[in-house]
């Protein structure tokens, strides 16, 4: 067994209230492409950041060639031969392509001045090997995201790297660029470089990786060779669910909404596409129905919700609410049409912690409650009172600062804000993430009640149990496309995992069948 080039021993990292890494053992060998996978919050990003010197560990150690080597800064890690390509392109868009490629190691000529001619020549040659042909004097920001990612890759690999860490390098690449990337990875492997590869796309892992480590809730749950490891088993390890007896049953019959749902859909989404992110996503939600969006992280769930709510501009597709077409790409238009989105990250996209509960709730409806620019305090009070009671928001008074509330109650305040706008469709993106069990149950109960009141609800959740129990139907996404729909008795965890894990060979059949069925179902209504 070859020596690990880079490994960790019992690595532990704590953040306030969270144990992000819990005694993680991880190791990658020279000439090995090692996949690092896990769901959101599993600790992948934290592990990478500790490995590359961005975070300091709270316990355990990082080993380089078997010797202790915990890095204090990204620079120290780079000097130890560890290069990183981050998920977001971490280059300077205003600087030229060549200057980005060479920053910190520019060729110098006379008087120590930078030799730009040589730098530009070298840049062109290096980049051409990554399929990037461009004027290297132009600002980097003028390149497409994929090309920028290639520049980042070229930069990372070009130093004398012994270990290259790639954090979801393909998330912004075209299929052709992915092929180029795979070519680069294979050549790196042949040269004896160790590659740590983080991705959610299972097909990619099987295409390029030799070994895999699965993280869940900050712990290593599996590590070993990838070959011979079943796709379904991989998914079940990531999600922490047993495969059960379903495996024996084979392929499921996806699609086909056979239930007699009589009501006209309140939300209909047709052929929604967002460059690199969503491909022809279609589904419908009827009043009183909770439709779940299933899929792994990065499958396009959040993007779907955001483009329906106007926060993300789709390149194609149509959104209709109760038969009326909604202008896409405009949050204002979506809100006026009755679409409300409870975003995934409530801290940055929702709650104003310094304002009171009352003000937070009233924020979105102020224009509706005001007459001639003056806001009626009494009307706000009655509205806030109604919602605080209905949603069982626990605060000392409506005037308590929202930032002082528990996570669950903050989430309810946000929910109240959107409900006050009287929506017809509610999009909930991870409504119970990060809140305690009791509050979770309350929010789940609320979702049920809201649906019973006739709202159309679209529910996104990484918590399989929540998704399965909360949803009447589940639309399954993978790599930005609908790959199936579970209805009635099919709405089970096992079925859902199978749909997510469905092998690549089945994909064309599924991708063809599922959206078509949804469209057919919608047409019949």
């Amino acid at each position: 067994m070859a020596e690990h080039v880079l490994s960790t021993r019992s690595l532990t990292k704590r953040f306030p209230g969270v144990l992000a890494l819990d005694r993680v053992d991880f190791g990658v060998r020279a000439g090995e492409v090692h996949a690092l996978i896990g769901e959101n919050g599993a600790g992948k990003s934290t592990l990478i950041k500790v490995l590359t010197g961005v975070y300091a560990p709270d316990g355990g150690e990082v080993l380089r060639d078997g010797g202790p080597a915990t890095f204090g800064t990204p620079l120290a890690a780079q000097q130890a031969g560890i290069s990183t390509i981050y998920q977001e392109v971490n280059l300077v868009p205003l600087m030229s392509v060549a200057r980005n490629l060479f920053l910190g190691r520019e060729p110098r000529g006379r008087f120590g001045l930078i030799d730009f001619d040589r730098m530009h020549r070298e840049s062109e040659r290096i980049l051409s090997e990554y399929g990037v042909r461009t004027d290297v004097r132009r600002p980097l920001g003028e390149l497409g995201v994929g090309a920028q990612q290639m520049v980042a890759l070229a930069r990372a690999v070009w130093v004398d790297a012994k270990v290259v860490v790639m954090d979801e390098p393909t998330s912004s690449l075209e299929p052709r660029e992915v092929e180029t990337l795979f070519g680069v990875i294979r050549r790196l492997r042949d040269r004896g470089v160790a590659v740590v590869y983080v991705s959610h796309r299972l097909d990619e892992l099987y295409a390029v990786c030799d070994a895999v480590t699965v993280l869940r809730d900050g712990r290593t749950v599996h590590t070993g060779p990838l070959q011979g490891l079943e796709r379904l088993r991989l998914v079940s390890m990531m999600l922490g669910r047993e495969i059960g007896e379903v495996r024996a049953e084979g392929t499921t019959k996806f699609g086909g909404d056979h239930e007699a749902a009589s009501a006209e859909p309140v939300l209909r989404v047709d052929g929604l596409s967002v460059q690199h992110q969503l491909h022809d996503v279609s589904f419908a939600v009827r009043p009183g129905e909770v439709v779940g969006l299933g899929g792994l992280l990065g499958s396009g769930r959040t993007e779907t919700a955001k483009s329906v709510a106007g926060a993300l501009a789709p390149s194609a597709g149509r959104v209709t609410v109760a038969g009326a077409r909604v202008r896409t790409g405009s949050p204002g238009a979506a809100i006026r049409a009755g679409i409300s989105l409870l975003p995934e990250d409530r801290k940055t996209e929702g709650i104003v912690p310094g304002l009171s509960v009352r003000e937070n709730i009233a924020l979105a409806v102020l224009p509706r409650l005001s007459r001639a620019g003056l806001v009626s305090e009494a009307r706000i009070d009655s509205l806030v009172g109604t919602f605080m009671e209905r949603l069982r928001i626990k605060a000392s008074s409506p005037h308590q600062k929202a930032g002082e509330l528990s996570g669950g109650n903050q989430q309810k305040v946000l929910l109240a804000r959107w409900l006050a706008a009287e929506p017809r469709v509610l999009l909930l993106d991870e409504p119970t993430r990060g809140i305690d069990v009791g509050a979770k149950a309350e929010v789940q109960k609320l979702v049920d009640e809201l649906a019973a009141d006739g709202l159309g609800v679209l529910l996104i959740s990484s918590d399989l149990e929540e998704l399965i129990e909360g949803s009447d139907r589940v639309v399954v996404l993978r790599d930005g496309a609908v790959v199936g729909e579970l209805t009635g008795d099919e709405v089970t965890e096992d079925r859902l995992m199978e749909a997510i894990a469905a092998a690549a060979e089945e994909e064309p059949h599924l991708a063809d069948a599922a959206p078509g069925d949804v469209r057919k179902a919608a047409a019949h209504d």
């Binding site: 000097q79 280059l91 910190g104 930078i114 994929g146 070229a154 130093v159 180029t180 070519g183 680069v184």
Partner: protein
């Protein structure tokens, strides 16, 4: 630094070291972006040279309108009076490109002048080195507070602005003492001397801008200033020492403001205590008019020189029109600044819109 070890000295060895070995398949070789349209080139030109065009137009119109404007005496006047602001603006350019701001330069400028005049009785070396040491030190402290203590540049340099002016008032007994510089001293020659009929401050300024231009555009330090201003996190992840870069630019800014003050004192032959009010804003205006992005990451030393000249030419023209109140100079300068910032913002948005457009 092993990262800095250049791999390209051996010519062909560079990509072999890290890049893929074989040439890319022609079929897979995608042509990525980079094709610049005429509109792109125009907007780049406007960003980079708009101030120069405006300066040339202004000078042409002024020469045609006033006989006295294009005279050698008047032009030399403009040049010398521009020199001191230009030196301050040079330091400010580095600070703004790095994504910061330095509000202390006006106070540091006047402090430098007073210190030089006070020190001139101990000889030219003290007269020059004292202000450089004190003002450079103020800049260094600014830099340390901003880079290491991670305080906002606006607040830190605002405090330094108040502190430096207080120090100056302390030295001059609330501004009542004005130290004089002997007009025949060697130090006074730095401000009053002439070479080829042109004042020494002008030559010093030109030399400093040449050095500053090389430093910003052609050295690794300069590249790091751009990188820090363009994307601080990325610069740090790419192995740039962000704090060292920041400390250096603020120290430079203080040093140059002090030098400008000392030269100005030599020129006036006294440490005048009422100068420098609002000079920081004038310097910032000149830098921004010269095409440097106020948000950092993009800018040119030469542009700042043009920006200073433009401000000073406008000031001169208004003085030439005797009937116009000189207060209008500030109105015109302000209007110019607004136009430049509007155009910059517009160009920036256009670029961004183009980058995020699908396709």
């Amino acid at each position: 630094m092993s990262v800095a070890k250049s791999r390209h000295d051996g010519g062909g060895s560079a990509p072999g070291e890290g890049g893929p070995a074989g040439p890319a398949k022609p079929a897979g070789a995608a042509a990525h972006g980079g094709t610049s349209t005429r509109a792109d080139r125009w907007s780049t030109f406007a960003q980079r040279h708009g101030a120069l065009v405006a300066l040339l137009l202004t000078v042409l119109i002024a020469s045609a309108s006033f006989d006295s404007f294009a005279g050698a005496g008047n032009l030399k006047n403009i040049a010398v009076s521009s020199a001191f602001l230009a030196i301050v603006a040079l330091g400010m350019t580095f600070v703004i490109v790095s994504g910061g701001i330095d509000l202390s330069v006006g106070s540091v400028f006047v402090l430098g002048g007073v210190l030089a005049a006070w020190g001139s009785k101990y000889g030219p070396v003290v007269a020059l080195l004292l202000p450089l040491a004190v003002c450079g030190g103020i800049g260094l402290v600014n830099g340390l507070l901003i880079a290491r203590a991670r305080l906002a540049p606006f607040i830190v340099t605002l405090a330094a602005m108040l502190g430096a002016r207080g120090l100056m008032l302390n030295i001059t007994d609330e501004g009542n003492d004005t130290f004089l510089i002997a007009k025949d001293s060697l130090f006074a020659d730095l401000g009053r001397g002439k070479l080829l009929g042109i004042g020494a401050p002008v030559w010093i300024t030109l030399a400093l801008f040449l050095l500053g231009g090389l430093l910003l555009r052609r050295t690794r330090f300069g590249q790091q200033v751009y990188a820090v201003g363009g994307n601080e996190d990325a610069a740090s992840l790419m192995g740039t020492s962000v704090s060292r870069t920041k400390i250096t630019v603020y120290a430079m800014s203080g040093l140059l403001a002090g030098l400008a003050g000392a030269l100005n004192a030599a020129w006036l032959a006294s440490g005048v205590t009422i100068l420098g009010q609002g000079m920081e804003l004038e310097a910032i205006s000149a830098v921004v008019i010269g095409g440097t992005l106020l948000t950092g990451g993009l800018g040119y030393v030469s542009g700042s020189l043009v920006g200073v000249l433009l401000l000073k030419v406008i000031q001169n023209i208004i003085n030439q029109i005797g009937s116009l109140d000189s207060a209008y100079q500030q109105v015109v300068s302000g209007a110019f600044l607004v136009v430049v910032v509007v155009v910059q913002t517009w160009l920036g948005r256009r670029r961004k819109a183009r980058l995020t457009a699908p396709g």
